[in-house]
């Protein structure tokens, strides 16, 4: 149409549908009061509080934080980024599980197939591996940041201990995942690593036997590390993360200022 009524009509119709949707019961049942997604939402101090308070985010953040906590130079977002990397690793890890069998030699061939046959297979595997390395780094740097800010001091002593456990679990997760490609790098790196454990006094050999599933690494170790890597350790680390985040909130949020 020459006057453009048709186009405007479609636009109006789409807008009307959007408004209708945003006023619907379904929409309002998903987005709780205060959410910016709601049609009746306005930017007010109360709604800013509701965005956090009426949201699962309230488990992670209070409604307000001390102003210095906003400074990127203060926290460097390291704890949050560690958590974010954990989520990325979970998502990419689930993707990889669809294409991976923890048996010898299938494991190695599955990784080769991932690079050649699976759409985005190599990219996702790369993200999983580099993400794991990055997570070890961010968790470690988070620990040093917390130390230099004295953020382990009362009442946060126990949360520091939980944090050290999380660091250990991160290393164990990375280590168990290291074996899974079942190539020369994986096999011998894990051999070197688990040989260290065998030197532990008194019960070192028993620990090594249980961990490896035998006196030396075999294909059975692959299954054992796989279950530890995809099920047991994530389960444990999620529990400790829940405690860690909860204690951050309960112990008074962000520490400082210096």
């Amino acid at each position: 149409m020459a006057d453009g009524n048709g186009k405007g009509g479609v636009l109006t119709a789409v807008k009307g549908m959007g408004t209708h949707l945003r006023n619907s019961q379904v929409w309002n049942s998903i987005f709780r009061p205060g959410s910016p997604a709601r049609a009746d939402s306005t930017d007010s101090p109360r709604n800013r509080a509701y965005v956090v308070m009426n949201n699962v985010l309230y488990h992670l953040h209070p409604v307000k934080v001390k102003r210095h906590g906003l400074k990127v130079s203060y926290v460097l977002c390291l704890g949050g980024l560690s958590f974010f990397l954990f989520i990325i690793l979970t998502v990419t890890g689930i993707f990889l599980m669809f294409y991976y069998r923890p048996t010898s030699p299938a494991a190695y061939f599955d990784l080769q197939a991932l690079a050649t046959d699976v759409a985005f297979g190599q990219l996702v595997r790369n993200m999983h591996r580099w993400g794991a390395h990055l997570m070890v780094i961010t968790v470690f740097l988070h620990m040093t940041r917390v130390f230099y800010h004295g953020a382990y001091k009362p009442p946060r002593e126990f949360n520091w201990v939980v944090g050290i456990i999380l660091l250990l679990l991160t290393l164990l997760l990375s280590f168990t995942g290291y074996l899974l490609p079942w190539d020369q790098l994986a096999l011998w790196a894990v051999t070197v690593g688990s040989n260290m454990g065998a030197y532990a006094p008194v019960f070192g050999e028993q620990v090594s036997f249980i961990l490896v599933g035998g006196v030396q690494i075999t294909a059975d170790t692959l299954l054992r590390f796989y279950v530890l890597h995809v099920l047991f350790l994530p389960f444990v680390i999620v529990i400790f993360m829940a405690v860690h985040f909860w204690r951050v909130r309960k112990d008074g949020g962000i520490s400082g200022p210096l």
């Binding site: 934080v65 790369n126 990375s174 190539d183 520490s255």
Partner: protein, 299 residues
Amino acid sequence: MAQLPENLLRRAAEARAKAEGIPVEEALAEMKGEAPPAGADAAAPSAGAPAPVAASGGPVRDLDAESSKFGVPRPLLDRGMRARARKDGTAVPAMAGAAVAASPAAGKAAPAAPAAPGGPPPAAGPPPGVRTQRLLTVVKAGAIQGTTKEPQDKVNVWPHLLAIEFVALLAMLALLTLMSAFIDAPLLEFANFNQQPNPSKAPWYFLGLQELLAYFDPQVAGVLLPTFGMIALMFIPYVDRNPSVRPSDRKLAFSIFTVFFMAASILTIFGSFFRGPGFNFVFPWRDGIFFDDLKTLLE
């Protein structure tokens, strides 16, 4: 009633007026403990009408005395008294002594004949089986737990903190995606139990420990030191009794931690890049890098 803001009182009066079918002005006046405006009685035929004033010989109360004795604001006592009287259908007790004239809240009770203190109790109590409630005390507004927290400069998490976190998250995702797009994760030959590569290195985060193996007995370097290190880390908050978080007050703690931090970093870097075949010392720029974690990047 001085304790309540006017607008709240007004709202309450409107609600009561609506519920009981009486004019707003009357409800408001009653809540304030004042005489209702003229004609209000006539306009409210039934429930709203204030109870008749006690005749001589009826109950007598001295609200001023009770107020000071029990620490209850006088208007509240007055309101309670009137409500009770209206509910029971009994007369509003007369005011004792000078209180009648002193307080405008006594309202219509003022002209009542002063009765002797200690008169007989109200004739009509609540019907059997009906429970009534009495105002025992009024607790002044305030926190149950005493806090001495200083007010702090705070900002809303939404949008300020969440926006920053979202940007950090996107930056990390971008870094990871770019890295993964350009650097492939290493995949060497199929695992072979009969062919140990030389050198064999642990994952990079354990290379500091493997480096220590070159200096110490395996029991010391591989087990005792890391175990001791982890336990020491966990005990930091319980050993460091210094309450200050200011860097200038924590020179010793900073020094010790930094020494260990640097030692761990140097050992890890050394084990990663300066160890070659046989785990012997190499210069990476002369002899090449023997670090398979980054094999694909270096080739």
